[in-house]
């Protein structure tokens, strides 16, 4: 079912708040993986605020849908989502990155409720999520498994082993997202080591492929629901995104994979996010009138 106008508006609002939080965390903590945290916002919002069977008050309930952040460095962005879900307090967020604290760059699933696997090294979480989906099927658990990988992560051979296995085992209750922002630390993916045609590759591996605007929650929700219709193959949603989305001076910049902001740039980043949100609302207003 497509999102109602009200639902859509809610997800847009939440996405905005999460982007603001991401900048706050980066500033407070001193530095962070800001580019990739910003590009994945709508993916996480469409899952945690709509599609996932997940109760933030009971993040370890047995029948919860699982979400594995295979691109573990997106953890800062996930913390912003958890904070918006009131799973983390402002006091906890303020300590992000503190030596010895459980919230930091790559989180430990034994220490943070909501984190399903301790990732950070690329190419691991996807295979882990394949195992989870298989375990769920074998034990007839009702829940769904979602996984988010980065496009750069697709360079890792283990990704293709996982992709082969997921299709080989017919894991239809596994949905993979690819944060396709087309950038890695060294620059554009297509210049470094071309991944395209990425969708065709997954199709050849036996997956159902969706190719959507990764910042349009309506398109993401539609793809998630489409994936639910599959009976014998896993689905991959290639979310076409912009690294650093929301902050004009960060967008499409490889260098903003990781960085820090002084107080002046912090204000500029926040203002940019606000301006984009206002423009988005104006466009929605115009579209509805």
């Amino acid at each position: 079912m497509p999102l109602s106008g009200q639902e859509h508006r809610h997800l847009v609002d939440v996405s905005h708040k999460i982007r603001q939080r991401i900048i706050d965390i980066v500033y407070q903590a001193g530095s962070g993986h800001v580019g990739g945290s910003l590009s994945q916002v709508e993916i996480l919002v469409s899952l945690y605020f709509h599609a996932m069977q997940f109760d933030p008050k009971q993040p370890r309930s047995e029948d919860r849908d699982r979400f594995v952040l295979s691109k573990g460095h997106g953890g800062l962005g996930l913390c912003a989502v958890f904070a918006e879900l009131e799973m983390l307090t402002d006091q906890e967020l303020a300590r992000f990155g503190e030596t010895g604290f459980y919230l930091g760059m790559h989180m430990d699933h034994t220490k943070v409720a909501g984190i399903e696997a301790s990732t950070g090294s690329l190419g691991h979480g996807f295979g882990v999520s394949v195992g989870m989906a298989l375990g769920a099927r074998v034990q007839k658990f009702p829940w769904w498994t979602y996984c988010l990988i980065s496009d750069g992560e697709c360079y890792e051979g283990s990704i293709w082993e996982a992709a082969m296995a997921a299709a080989g085992f017919g894991l239809n209750k596994l949905t993979l997202f690819i944060d396709r922002n087309r950038l890695t630390m060294d620059g554009f993916t297509e210049e470094e080591m071309p991944l395209d045609p990425l969708g065709d590759k997954y199709k050849a591996f036996g997956w159902k492929v969706w190719d959507v605007d990764g910042h349009d929650v309506r398109a993401l929700v539609q793809a998630i629901e489409g994936a639910k219709q599959e009976e014998d193959k896993p689905s991959v949603i290639i979310a076409n995104t912009i690294k650093g989305k929301g902050v004009d001076f960060m967008e499409e910049q490889a260098k903003w994979h990781y960085g820090a902001l002084d107080s002046e740039m912090y204000e500029k980043a926040k203002a940019s996010i606000q301006a984009q949100y206002d423009a988005q609302l104006a466009a929605l207003q115009e579209a509805s009138s």
């Binding site: 990155g97 790559h106 990732t119 950070g120 090294s121 750069g152 360079y155 051979g157 080591m193 490889a254």
Partner: protein, 337 residues
């Protein structure tokens, strides 16, 4: 007008603050002399010094994307055609991710490949356990035919790279994050592959260190010296082949040995030295300072190494305990003005 608080920086700026790390320049120099040298990275051309080689010889530089196993396998293939590949990526991924490929495709196949592992130990503190390399020395040292080096600073890393490339042997060189203090003032110092460097003579106790802990060992030794404890400091820059003679000399001449490393207590420098001591049949007071057998946490690297006692304070404390001497702490807290 309100003043700006804090600093703005991105991953690009890491190269700016590490210009003393010169192995990239050395690779360019070697590349000019020998056109067989080629370099590979796994998406880290911009943030490790191997990018210098890319700037100088773009046609001899290969960025394979984030694919370490394939990178090592490809290096083996390149070496098979007569080229001399040098690889650089984070130590954890260079060694553990590509472990079998190093062992079989490089070492077993006897390929002339040099692997530079950066961010070793906990030098990428904030990355947490997934990005810490605590096992690389143990693993690399257990592979036949491997040269294993752990230089203490950028100037020594430059020498290590030269030696590794010249050796035509499979080689692994572990470095840290390149902001650490240097031990040497320039590249002009005596250095021999496989021979520990005697950085400070001493007769009461020996500290054997490698990598970033060498600076800390020297600091602690100098402090102890001020209180009359004569500490010998050995820089064991080559873990394999280990300088047995230097260890045996320390054993017989000082009878107390402390090893220090930013590595697991299992299998690294300490274990290598312990093997020599045990085989000698001679007695010795011995302590291994290293990461305990548990995964390291997330945090600033300098705090992580302090917490496990491998910084100069920790080494000094250990010297004090072994010598049964209370090394005077500087209790002068009066501001000088």
């Amino acid at each position: 007008m309100k003043k700006v608080q804090g600093f703005t920086w991105t991953v690009e700026d890491t190269n700016l603050i590490t210009y003393h790390e010169i192995y990239g320049d050395v690779l360019v120099e070697l590349g000019q002399q020998d056109e067989r040298i080629v370099c590979l990275t796994a998406d880290l051309a911009n943030t490790t010094k191997i990018g210098r080689f890319k700037e100088a010889f773009p046609e001899r530089f290969f960025n394979v994307g984030i694919a370490e196993q394939n990178m090592v396998a490809m290096a083996s293939g390149l070496a098979a055609t007569g080229l001399k590949p040098v690889i650089s990526t984070y130590a954890i991924f260079a060694t553990l991710r590509a472990a079998e490929f190093i062992r079989t495709d490089i070492a077993y196949n006897q390929r002339d490949v040099t692997i530079i592992g950066t961010l070793s130990g906990v030098s990428f503190g904030q990355g947490g356990a997934t990005h810490h390399a605590q096992e690389d020395l143990a693993l690399m040292r257990s592979i036949p035919n491997m040269l294993v080096l752990a230089p203490c600073d950028g100037y020594e890393a430059a020498k290590a790279v030269r030696a590794a490339v010249a050796s035509s042997s499979p080689a692994y060189i572990r470095i840290a994050r390149s902001v650490e203090h240097y031990v040497h003032k320039d590249q002009d110092f005596a250095w021999t592959l496989g021979k520990a460097s005697l950085l400070k003579e001493g007769s009461d106790i020996t500290v054997i260190a490698c990598g970033i802990t060498v600076y800390h060992a020297l600091s602690a030794a100098e402090r102890a010296q001020a209180d009359g404890v004569s500490v010998r400091v050995l820089n064991m820059h080559t873990l394999k082949p280990l300088d047995h003679e230097a260890v045996l000399q320390a054993l017989t001449e000082t009878r107390r040995i402390v090893t220090v490393e930013d590595h697991s207590i299992v299998g690294g420098l300490g274990s290598a030295v312990a093997e020599v001591i045990a085989s000698s049949g001679k007695g010795c007071a011995f302590r291994k300072l290293a990461h305990p057998d548990r995964f390291s946490g997330m945090g600033y690297p300098d705090d992580l190494i302090h917490d496990i006692g491998i910084d100069d304070e920790g080494i000094l404390k250990t010297i004090s305990e072994l010598m049964k001497v209370d090394i005077t702490v500087d209790d002068d807290w009066q501001d000088e003005s």
